[in-house]
Amino acid sequence: MKEADDVTNLVTDLSPGRVASEARTSAERAAHEPGGGGTAVTLENVSITFGNHVAVRSVTLQLPARQVTALVGPSGCGKTSVLRAINRLHDHMGGVVHGSVRLGDLDIYGPGVQPELLRSRIGMVFQRPNPFPTMNIFDNVVSGLRFNGVHNRRLLREMAEMALHNAALWDIVKDRLHQSALRLSGGQQQRLCIARALAVEPEVLLMDEPCSALDPVATAKIEDLITNLSRDVTIALVTHNMFQAARVSDHAAVFLLGEDRVGELVEVGPTEQVFETPQDPRTRAYVTGHVG
């Protein structure tokens, strides 16, 4: 399969920096306009605590609009916590978010902000595919639309078809929209979840290690998807796989554990630069240590 060949070719060179430069020159990347205009999400001095435990400290980060920003680093450094702070998922889990998180001009933790509306503008894809087990494929894709007040059947069908096209799933499921979502394979389920998130037309898509539960072929398909999607949607991608970050992202933010075992943001910048010519010695250690 073509995607598998691409993956193999990229992996023959062991440095993420080389991977990043080569990824840039491939056909899909050429079609992408960098600097699409402004910043979608701004985090300023964000710390996240769970009771007395500090998960991550003092994160200042910008997610440029319509580009892919990868949050990389070993597990436990707070990448997922930062992601969930952006769509206020911590509200239900007891986590407290300090500092400021802005969607454009809007302070998302400000008074008068409705979390439900916010979450219809910021979608999320989770680590393990989680389609609703009691719904068929069609109902899964349009579930977000129904939550947000869209009930017109024709409109639902059109938006579902569009979302499934964008998730590269339409041809596979178009004849079995009324089958249970659980009959799809793992990779297909994840793309279903992506379609479900896309159907709501979010401005930002948060992806929390979407490929970690999938095999390489499914992973490659989703990586392709991410690159295509970033034309319309700002994407924040948490991944512990530096090669994936190198292949797919425009910007990279490196999270590592500080001395006191609290996660912190060590370096952020264009992906190529972070991986090939990192500024911070810790980043260099991480990037090279990963290879060696």
Binding site: N152, R154, L155
Partner: protein, 311 residues
């Protein structure tokens, strides 16, 4: 449906914009769809939240409705029964109807005897069957397990009839033995289930602990599992006994007189028009309730201690 459905479809279909090429039109269509979604979400939120609040209130109303019967029942039993219960009540034998000064001692003793017989039957047999089920796979074990499940759903009145056929008809008289047999048969499936589950839970944890420590499986393992399952067995059996004590229907078919067991006494006295009889019924009910609740609390305490130890 949606208040602006015509606008929705117009926007979705047209997507016309000022841009020239197909790309610009697609981008405009995307922006329009996004704006449509924002608008729809914004407009529907108020209604959605209101619906949610109403449904939550309805659910919460169910709470006092569900709790009221227990509370009222316990309160009434205590209020009405406390007046009747005193040392004399517990210690004296019943007197003929209408004559004051009686107690329920025969009923208490009778109930104790019946439960004792039932326990003597059901506890050991339950343990052996549970061991059998624990050790074996296969059809026989599965069918026995299935039968135990079915039996635990059989109404107690039918078990009473069974005891009647086997013991009362055969020997031509009612007896505590027949009653004990009926209650024992009733308790048996519950005990079997609880015992087996206790063994499995313990075995799983011990197995994992033992394997990681390199323990030698064999006789040591056997006695450890048995000893480890003991709290679970005790808790489960206590609950089964609590249930057995409270049964009335089987006693109808196996006992000669209501004064031989507490539950039967309540049943008999409750339907009599004498206020004294009703007083006795409340008093007996209070005694029974206290006893059953104590057993249940004890069972829970044992199970809780067991769960604590397991962590």
């Amino acid at each position: 449906m949606s208040a602006f459905s015509s606008a929705e479809t117009a926007l979705a279909g047209a997507g016309a914009g000022a841009g020239a090429g197909p790309d610009a039109r697609l981008a405009q269509a995307a922006r329009d769809r996004r704006e449509l979604m924002r608008e729809s979400a914004r407009r529907s939120l108020g209604r959605r939240r209101m619906t949610g609040r109403v449904m939550q209130v309805i659910c919460l109303i169910a709470l006092p409705v569900g709790l009221a019967p227990v509370v009222a029942l316990v309160y009434t039993t205590i209020a009405n029964g406390a007046g009747a219960v005193n040392i004399g009540f517990l210690v004296h034998a019943p007197t003929p109807p209408g004559i004051p000064g009686g107690g329920i001692s025969t009923a208490i003793v009778g109930s104790a005897e019946i439960i004792g017989i039932a326990m003597a039957m059901a506890i050991p047999i339950g343990l052996f069957i549970a061991l059998f089920l624990f050790e074996r796979r296969g059809r026989i074990a599965a069918s026995i397990r299935f039968s135990a499940d079915v039996m635990s759903g059989v109404p107690s009145i039918i078990i009473g009839i069974f005891a009647y056929s086997v013991l009362v008809e055969t020997f031509h008289h009612f007896s505590n033995l027949a009653a004990g047999f009926a209650i024992g048969v009733l308790m048996l499936p519950i005990m079997v289930r609880a015992d087996e589950e206790a063994m499995r839970t313990v075995a799983l944890e011990l197995w994992e602990a033992g394997v990681s420590l390199g323990a030698r499986r064999s006789r040591v393992a056997r006695s450890i599992v048995l000893r480890g399952a003991l709290p679970g067995v005790v808790a489960g059996n206590l609950l089964a006994i609590a249930r057995g004590v409270g049964e009335t229907a089987p006693l109808l078919f196996t006992l000669a007189s209501p004064t031989f067991a507490m539950t039967l006494l309540i049943f008999n006295d409750a339907t009599q028009p004498f206020p004294a009889a009703q007083q006795t019924a409340w008093g007996t009910a209070l005694v029974l309730l206290v006893f059953v609740l104590t057993l249940s609390v004890a069972a829970r305490a044992v199970a809780w201690a067991l769960n604590r130890k397991a962590r």
